[in-house]
């Protein structure tokens, strides 16, 4: 049997230096100077609904939009690829024939609906689309009081986006809180940039 060696761990006795540090409250002074520095520094709060709003980068995946080409024709050809690609099954597309030139081909969507309450913004629909008709835009204020309002129809999706496609984004801009009949909106003023470090 080998004897168990007991190792005696000696606790460091506080040296004279530690004691001196304690008597002049060095640690406290360090801590206090840090908090004082923060107290005087600028806050990083975004005053979101009232005065400022974050505009996301173009890569941001927010609510869907349906695009048109330069001549204003609907790009969607109702191929239903997005429906197939969608993991949550939240897109409904019903095709119809149309040769009035509303769309880029003679097939357009009669119904194009997405249920944002089920969508998890993966962006597969946008990848699947052969004509880049469906895109995930930059709107992120999607809360609503009734569940039906979360279903976006084709008419709503075809409207131009609140932030234009070529806007750079990734910045905080001035904004205004607006209460209207249809709900509360935060309207950004895209050209009034707010600096924040």
């Amino acid at each position: 049997m080998n004897e168990k060696k007991v190792k005696i761990v000696k606790r460091d006795t506080p040296g004279a230096l530690d004691l001196a540090k304690k008597t002049v409250f060095l640690d406290f002074i360090k801590g206090l100077s840090i908090t004082l520095r923060y107290n005087l520094s600028r806050s990083i709060t975004i005053r979101y609904p009232d005065e400022e709003k974050w505009i996301p980068y173009p890569r941001f995946r927010g609510a869907h939009t349906l695009n048109r080409d330069e001549e204003g024709r609907e790009l969607c050809v109702a191929c239903e690829l997005c429906v197939k690609a969608c993991p949550t099954n939240c897109i409904t597309v019903v095709p119809m024939e149309d040769d009035t030139g509303k769309g880029i081909a003679d097939r357009v969507a009669k119904v194009w609906e997405v249920d944002l309450a089920r969508c998890f913004f993966c962006g597969y629909c946008e990848d699947a689309c052969p004509t880049t008709a469906v895109r995930l835009g930059r709107d992120y204020e999607l809360a609503c009081f009734e569940l039906d309002k979360a279903r976006k129809t084709k008419e709503e999706l075809l409207k131009p986006q609140s932030v234009p496609e070529d806007f750079e984004g990734g910045i905080i801009v001035q904004a205004k809180l607006q209460r209207t009949k249809s709900g509360i909106k935060v309207k950004p003023n895209l050209w009034k940039k707010k600096e924040k470090k």
Partner: protein, 343 residues
């Protein structure tokens, strides 16, 4: 016997009492707002911002909320004690201000009456202040006891132990100041420090700063503020002694705590920082002394808030160790040194 001079005197005292009480009652409104702003900015936030410009009306909104809240009294609480506990906490901290001098005599404009900027100049002012401030702990203990809740009771008990330990230390610090000023009257203590900041007790080297630190630490403990806020330690006691209180009664406790903070700040200024004395002494350029007093008190209030959002809370045994094993021996040694210096 009752002549006009006497009546005028009584009226003046009444006016002074009412003014001081009103100022003190409205103080917590401002202080809660300032405290939340300081907290916000230290944590790189903005603090309250939505009620009024920069959230300045937040305190009023809170007050309205408190007024409309249900006043819950727990089932098996001791109803009488439960109801009077907040008042027991509040009254002593207001009573402290009877003795605190805010300024020296001023001559009223258009009359040649002299007005003293303190309610009374007791010749034992400092003893009165210490005695009365010790009473405030009854509110805490009764609140804890009457709630019939473990957490509240533990909070109350902690508070009483804390008060006993630190009252001793606080008294020692006061003894030091009394030795330096040769007087128990707060007005005389301030007068003995007049003539610029180099006459202040804090700069009476080497004992002044030590007395101040002793006083300051004891003051923090008496105020139940971080780092010594064990009676209301959220981590272990939910909210401590006021865990069962709601609505206006809770607000009274808060009011009491804020006014106590003002009183300890005022006391620190009076005892160590020359009260209303102009720091520039002979080179003063005519800022009214009362403003100096207010400014110094504000600095102290800021320091209390600053410390609150910097330091973590001490453990209970550490609190007791600091009190009995560190501060009291230092105080005793300091009494000796001060005594030798005053020979």
């Amino acid at each position: 016997m009752v002549d006009t001079a006497f009546i005028v005197e009584v009226i003046i005292i009444w006016i002074k009492v009412v003014v001081v009480a009103l100022v003190l009652f409205s103080m917590p409104l401002a202080l809660t707002w300032i405290e939340r702003k300081v907290a916000g900015h230290i944590q790189v936030r903005l603090g309250p911002f939505r009620v009024g410009p920069h959230g300045i009306l937040q305190a009023f909104a809170d007050m309205v909320k408190m007024l409309f809240k249900e006043d819950v009294i727990p089932d098996r609480a001791d109803r009488l004690l439960f109801k009077i506990a907040p008042l027991l906490m509040m009254v002593p901290v207001f009573a402290i201000f009877v003795a605190i001098p805010f300024g020296d005599k001023v001559t009223l404009p258009f009359t040649d009456r002299e007005l003293t900027l303190y309610i009374s100049d007791m010749n034992v002012g400092i003893i009165y202040v210490l005695a009365v401030s010790g009473l405030a702990v009854y509110g805490v203990i009764f609140g804890g006891w009457a709630s019939n809740s473990k957490y509240a009771l533990l909070g109350g008990l902690r508070s009483s132990a804390q008060m006993i330990s630190y009252e001793v230390v606080m008294t020692f610090a006061a003894v030091g100041v009394v030795m330096l000023a040769n007087s128990l009257s707060l007005v005389d203590i301030v007068r003995s420090q007049s003539g610029g900041f180099w006459h202040w007790n804090i700069l009476y080297l080497p004992v002044g700063p030590v007395w101040f630190f002793i006083f300051f630490i004891a003051g923090l403990a008496e105020l139940n503020r971080i780092p010594f806020d064990l009676p209301e330690d959220e981590g272990t006691l939910a909210a401590g002694y006021h865990v069962e209180y709601s609505g206006m009664r809770f607000a009274f406790f808060m009011l009491g705590e804020y006014v106590a903070m003002v009183s300890i700040s005022a006391l620190a200024v009076v005892l160590f920082f020359g009260g209303w004395d102009d720091p520039l002494g002979p080179f003063a350029f005519g800022i009214p002394p009362i403003l100096w007093f207010v400014a110094k008190v504000m600095v102290f209030i800021y320091i209390f808030m600053w410390i609150r959002f910097t330091l973590p809370r001490y453990r209970y045994d550490q609190l007791m160790t600091i009190g009995w094993k560190v501060l009291i021996p230092i105080s005793m040694a300091n009494v000796l040194v001060t005594g030798f210096m005053r020979i």
